[in-house]
């Protein structure tokens, strides 16, 4: 983890990223509209840090992660990894970049081939991207199993013989095989039991320390993100509404959505629970196929003003490294450049 992100270099630079999915309808499958899953977002990830990406179901978190890794052909915008622009690189040319960036998925069950043994699963990227001999590969797989705390004796077993937490370790070992710099962790603990989540999170932290890894940690679990992330970006309906250091975001959230989101999290302490003043949001998140005009939070915002219903709020830097997209801050701040 990082002490001062300011002194380290930017590993991932995302600018005005848009990912719109077409909606087709009718027998002719005519294009009738689009889901604006990610609708213009910008952020940096510094080398060696963990950027948390939070927000509710459907707000576009996974799409951001997948678009950055170019698992999609993006609609618009720029993505630079280690200084190299890959936003519009044709898929075949991305092959050489693949080893540097990897992904760990939410559902360890679904992301592992049930017919492959654990050693074959972990070794697969080595087959694809290296020319290691059989012995070298075997040694590397054993080393990876050690690193993620899987018993070497289980190398020839199949995924269904493992618990959820162990399967997630297999997925992590596989992601580490090619010595990546950057890993997108998409809800890596959401499917795990409470008592197993901490095991996996501690493992991710240890591996980061050992290998200097950079993480984008996607989660809807705000308390776990507070634990693991150095900086946190909050998404709502395809946009980043606030981005700040972990300390700033949890101690003094500025965007009305972040405030409501944090206040909604239950606290495992009956005395604190009694005292929490919750901002209960009314209604549901609008559809990303038809987002509201102006600020996309205006249909639920407790502090909505007239301007919010017509004008999209710009992003303001309200303190060093703390940005938010909300008209409430327009009087006292100037628009941020990035």
């Amino acid at each position: 983890m990082l002490d001062d992100p300011k002194v380290s270099k930017i590993l991932v630079e995302v600018r005005d990223l848009k990912m719109h999915f077409p909606i087709h309808a009718g027998v002719l499958k005519k294009r009738v509209g689009e889901v604006k899953a990610v609708d213009g977002i910008s952020f940096d990830i510094y080398e060696g840090e963990t950027l948390g990406l939070v927000g509710e179901s459907g707000c576009g978190k996974s799409t951001v992660g997948r678009a950055i890794l170019r698992l999609y052909d993006i609609t618009e915008g720029s993505v630079k990894i280690d200084g190299i622009e890959i936003g519009h690189t044709p898929q075949p040319d991305l092959r050489t970049m693949r080893p540097t960036m990897q992904m760990v998925f939410q559902d360890p069950q679904a992301s592992l081939n049930p017919r492959m043994s654990v050693s074959a699963i972990i070794g697969e990227p080595l087959d694809e991207h290296t020319k290691m001999s059989k012995t070298e590969k075997r040694a590397k797989v054993m080393d990876l199993m050690d690193q993620v705390g899987l018993n070497r004796d289980f190398a020839n077993r199949y995924p269904h013989e493992f618990s959820g937490g162990q399967r997630q370790r297999i997925g992590i070992a596989r992601a580490l095989a090619l010595n990546p710099k950057f890993i997108v962790c998409d809800e890596p603990i959401a499917a795990l039991d409470v008592s197993i989540q901490a095991q996996v999170v501690n493992l991710l932290e240890d591996l980061q320390g050992e290998h200097g890894l950079t993480y984008l940690f996607i989660s809807h679990d705000l308390s776990m993100v507070r634990h693991i992330a150095d900086r946190v970006a909050v998404m709502y309906l395809g946009r980043v509404v606030e981005l700040a250091s972990r300390e700033q975001l949890y101690a003094a959230p500025k965007h009305p959505y972040t405030q409501a989101l944090l206040s909604a999290v239950p606290e495992p302490d009956p005395w604190i629970e009694d005292k929490i003043e919750r901002v209960i949001l009314q209604g549901d998140v609008p559809s990303p196929a038809n987002p509201p005009k102006g600020c996309n939070f205006c249909t639920r915002c407790p502090q909505v003003m007239e301007i919010c219903k017509t004008d999209e709020p710009p992003t303001f830097e309200i303190a060093p490294g703390h940005v938010t997209a909300c008209h409430l801050y327009s009087a006292t701040n100037t628009e941020s450049v990035s």
Binding site: V194, E205, V265, P266, E267, D269, I280
Partner: protein
């Protein structure tokens, strides 16, 4: 909460065993608890700890055979639900005992309107005419905070969001003024802001209707905010039982203690390193003959491997199934 009042539900020694091809699964092991009038009893435990099977067993929703449900008694409204006829159980379920399940999409029928599904128990159990049932259905939707209730009665489940569907499920469960409401992870599939709406609704409904509630969750935060009393389940057994404040202030089972330390929080101090409970929860293929937490327990000693601990009283209304005595700082002497 009426202390000392006769319980509305009294479960004694409930045990459920599944016979599967890969052997028996002892899902619920000698579970005993009671529910007082008007209280909210929280049940917390990880996946597979037996929370759902306990509830399904006590109201006859576990197909037996092949499963075997046994016990001393499940007393409700002067009946023993373990020996009640199917007909008696049908009249109780969905009427005097209401349910809300985790996934509202699987428990609502996609081909019928919401109105039809709320009216059904009213007509079946309360003998209402159609107009009577429709009026009450509308009132129920209003009660659970669905705007434009009259029109929405004609909508189908897919026209509602996840949070709205869960409100509808609550409306159906409340339709016949149940004495007991059983809610099995009703907010687990929901986003946190929608969960907050449902928890708020539950606080209002309890104040208004005063029924007794069993609320199942794996989220200690939800328990802290909503429960009066708590059962902690592990390996199909109740390992700790206490008033909510006692449980959080003085947890007396090593599993509860570890669980409280392992969860990160959004408020207050941030831990540099998460506490870990090593190992994984058990699947019991035989009735427990040792402590089922022993393999993961930092306090375990030889007795724990020989004997399954009974629930020892550790304070007023507070018991823990553990041989370790935290007050004495060593093995328990009595028992």
């Amino acid at each position: 909460m009426a202390d000392g009042a006769a319980p509305v539900l009294n479960v004694r020694d409930l045990t459920t065993v599944f016979k599967t091809r890969s052997g028996a699964v002892h899902a619920v092991n000698s579970v005993s608890f009671s529910l007082k009038p008007g209280e909210l009893l929280g049940i917390v435990g990880e996946s597979g700890s037996g929370k759902s099977v306990t509830m399904m067993s006590l109201i006859g929703l576990i197909p037996a055979p092949p499963a075997i449900v046994s016990g001393e008694a499940v007393e409700f409204g002067g009946l023993d639900l373990l020996t009640a006829t199917d007909d008696e159980l049908r009249r109780i379920r969905g009427a005097r005992i209401g349910f809300v399940f985790q996934d509202p999409m699987t428990s609502l029928n996609p081909v019928f309107t919401i109105g039809h599904q709320i009216m059904e128990p009213l007509r079946k159990h309360m003998g209402m005419t159609k107009p009577e049932a429709r009026a009450r259905a509308q009132a129920l939707l209003e009660l659970v905070g669905i705007p434009d209730a009259e029109r929405r009665l004609k909508d189908y489940p897919h026209q509602f969001s996840g949070g709205m569907r869960q409100r509808v499920m609550i409306a159906i469960a409340l339709a016949c003024d149940p004495e007991v409401l059983i809610a099995d992870e009703p907010t687990t599939a929901l986003d946190v802001t929608i969960q907050a709406q449902i928890l708020e609704l539950m606080h209002e409904l309890r104040a208004k209707l005063g029924m007794a509630v069993i609320w199942i969750t794996h989220d200690l935060g939800v328990i802290a905010g909503i429960a009066d009393r708590v059962l902690v389940m592990y390996g199909g057994q109740i390992v700790e039982h206490a008033d909510v404040r006692d449980l959080f202030k003085q947890p007396r089972h090593p599993y509860t203690r570890a669980l409280l330390q392992t969860v990160p929080r959004v408020r207050g101090e941030r831990a540099e390193r998460l506490e870990v409970i090593e190992g994984q929860p058990p699947i019991l293929h035989a009735a427990p003959s040792s402590c089922s937490f022993a393999a993961r327990c930092p306090f375990s000693f030889e007795r724990c491997l020989r004997e399954n601990p009974a629930r020892f009283e550790v304070g007023p209304g507070h018991d823990a199934a553990c041989f370790y005595d935290f007050d004495a700082g060593g093995p328990r002497h009595v028992g």
